[in-house]
């Protein structure tokens, strides 16, 4: 993880979480090639501002998605007025008209995914796994702990694999095929399991307990209830789209989240504090506000459908500044 300028406190993991959530919502919510292109550019800018190495390689990978999306969609979707070429109808699946509309639609979807690849690259680099795990409500604390431990163990496992490989090489083993990997895998697994047992003993020695706490069952019941409401809303939105199913989905998600948050949390001390400062609060508000504006305020005009005849996508005046507001966290982090 690259560090921000010396003397400056890094942004909270919660701010980065809000930032990447906003990018995801906008990318998936507004299917518009101009928005996708702007998000891709913002992702590159964010990588540059936060000094993440390998921008060119990551950008090449991101650009693969619109290309593959365009080709894939054009090959399978034979809808649209602007026919570029015709493949024999006898050819299964791909046979038929190859249209500019299908190319554009596929590229737009791929552009959103490519942009998200860059945004999540920045997020993973800036938000520490430990801080993200601390953000997890009590309901997910154990699973978050597994994730944090696994993230810490993965590089160690890689180093141990190198050591085992070197040790086996001194015994004359030169792995050539899959079968030769067995002398590498077996000690790696055995060593890992041994390390896990030691870790468990260390956790027990430090008083880590996972006993059921009073009130946790009621909260878990709320979680299940919230899940049911959200599922009903989600299925309702798919069957009979409208305001009521969306409200049910949101209400279910809210009951789910509140119940998860309400689970009793044990009193623990922290070695490292990552406070949520006023700067974090301001940036989170700006980012979420811009997202709400994009999705609710100008969302209707952002939606773009190339079928049946390709048209130039619309980008309302307010969308530009709202999108630019999303670059604020990387900009502030750079300082």
């Amino acid at each position: 993880m690259t560090q921000p300028r010396a003397g400056r406190r890094p942004l909270s993991a919660l701010t980065w979480l809000a930032w990447v959530t906003s990018g995801t919502l906008v990318a998936l919510g507004a299917r518009n090639p101009l928005v996708g292109a702007l998000l891709l550019a913002l992702g590159v800018a964010a990588m540059a501002l936060t000094r993440i190495p390998g921008i060119a390689a990551r950008l090449r990978l991101a650009m693969f998605f619109p290309l593959a999306g365009a080709l894939f969609n054009a090959a399978y979707t034979h809808v649209g007025d602007s026919v570029l070429l015709k493949l024999p109808e006898a050819w299964p699946v791909v046979g038929g008209s190859i249209t500019a509309e299908a190319l554009a639609y596929g590229a737009t979807g791929g552009l959103a995914i490519g942009a998200l690849l860059l945004w999540f690259g920045v997020f993973v680099s800036r938000a520490r796994a430990y801080d993200l795990a601390r953000l997890a409500p009590r309901a997910f604390e154990s699973v978050a702990l597994v994730v944090v431990i696994a993230l810490g163990m993965a590089p160690l496992a890689r180093r141990r694999l190198d050591e085992i490989r070197a040790a086996q090489a001194t015994r004359g083993l030169q792995p050539r095929g899959l079968r030769d990997a067995l002398p590498l895998w077996t000690p790696l697994l055995a060593g890992g399991l041994e390390q896990g047992a030691q870790l468990a003993e260390a956790m027990l020695a430090r008083g880590f307990v996972s006993a059921r706490r009073p009130g946790s069952r009621v909260a878990a019941l709320g979680v299940g209830f919230g899940l049911l409401i959200a599922a009903a809303g989600g299925l309702g939105q798919l069957l009979v789209p409208g305001a009521l199913p969306v409200m049910l989905l949101v209400a279910g998600a809210a009951v789910f989240a509140l119940s998860a948050l309400a689970m009793p949390r044990p009193t623990t001390t922290r070695y490292r504090n990552a406070p949520f400062t006023a700067r974090d609060a301001l940036l989170t508000t700006v980012v979420l506000g811009a997202t709400a504006l994009l999705l609710a305020g100008v969302g209707g005009r952002l939606a773009w459908d190339p079928y049946p005849t390709l048209t130039w996508p619309d980008l309302p005046g307010l969308a530009g500044p709202a999108l630019l507001a999303l670059v604020l966290p990387p900009l502030i982090e750079r300082g």
Binding site: L151, A200, P241
Partner: protein, 263 residues
């Protein structure tokens, strides 16, 4: 000490919540066949991703409700870390087609430690490896849920109660790996299938059988061959590494099942 230890407690309440979340996730994944009159498009994409994410969290809540002891947390973390390294290696040196080395360990862990442990191994492997390889995105809930089901179903296989897994168990798991090699690809395709229109692609209003027929055509033409590499890879990895891996996991299982009580 018991022959068949329950690493995760089997409270009716916990099982109910887990079953609810896992079953809803399955319904969400299978919507093109169960609700063929639905419309597709962007709305469907965000609703299904949101619902799957909620279902995943639902399965994690069960684990967080006092179910994971320090030993289980450490064991799960070790297996997830080792499997994530395999996925990292896969990204660095991609295998043929859709070959991936991560499913073998998910299957073996689910078989050794039970359905819910297998689900968590599968889902968290995909999460951690996605973080390591910067592969986080809206497709992740689909990947996590499907990989979770790989481990979950491995825990339902017979023979787990045996004192030591034999050759028959390994052969059975190889066949299981072949089935999931194709099934994983078939389920993952459902995440984007409804976004495409045309020959062999999804169309609203068709009956379940017609939809299935269309999907079978689409799958056979686009994914069966690449997925065959995943299926054969699973079988090869379980065949080569299954016996020693299961032996190590069985030893761990025995040590985890050891408890003592004071009179």
């Amino acid at each position: 000490m018991t022959d068949r230890p329950a690493l995760l407690p089997r409270h009716a309440f916990s099982l109910g919540l887990f079953g609810l979340a896992a079953a809803f996730g399955g319904l969400v994944l299978a919507w093109p066949f169960l609700f063929p009159t639905l419309r597709g498009g962007g709305d469907t994409a965000w609703v299904t991703v949101s619902l799957l994410a909620l279902c995943l969290l639902g399965t994690f809540v069960d684990a967080g409700e006092g179910a994971l002891t320090p030993r289980v947390i450490a064991l799960l973390a070790v297996l997830v870390a080792l499997n994530s390294i395999l996925r990292f290696a896969e990204n660095a040196l991609p295998g043929p087609g859709e070959f991936s080395p991560v499913f073998a360990l998910i299957i073996l862990a689910g078989y050794a430690f039970g359905a819910r442990f297998g689900f968590l191994t599968g889902a968290l492997t995909l999460l951690v490896s996605a973080i390591i390889t910067a592969g986080v995105g809206p497709w992740l809930p689909y990947q996590m849920f499907t990989a979770g089901w790989v481990g979950l179903s491995a825990g339902w296989l017979p023979g787990r109660a045996a004192a030591q897994p034999g050759r028959r168990a390994v052969i059975g798991l190889m066949a299981f790996g072949v089935v999931w090699g194709f099934l994983y690809g078939a389920i993952m395709n459902l995440s984007f299938w409804h976004l495409y229109a045309g020959t062999g692609a999804w169309a609203p209003g068709l009956g379940p059988l017609d939809t299935l027929q269309r999907y079978a055509t689409f799958y056979a033409l686009t994914s069966a061959l690449p997925d065959a590499f995943r299926a054969l890879g699973n079988a090869a990895l379980i065949g080569l590494f299954g016996a020693p891996t299961l032996a190590a996991l069985w030893r761990t299982r025995r040590s985890l099942s050891f408890t003592h009580t004071t009179a």
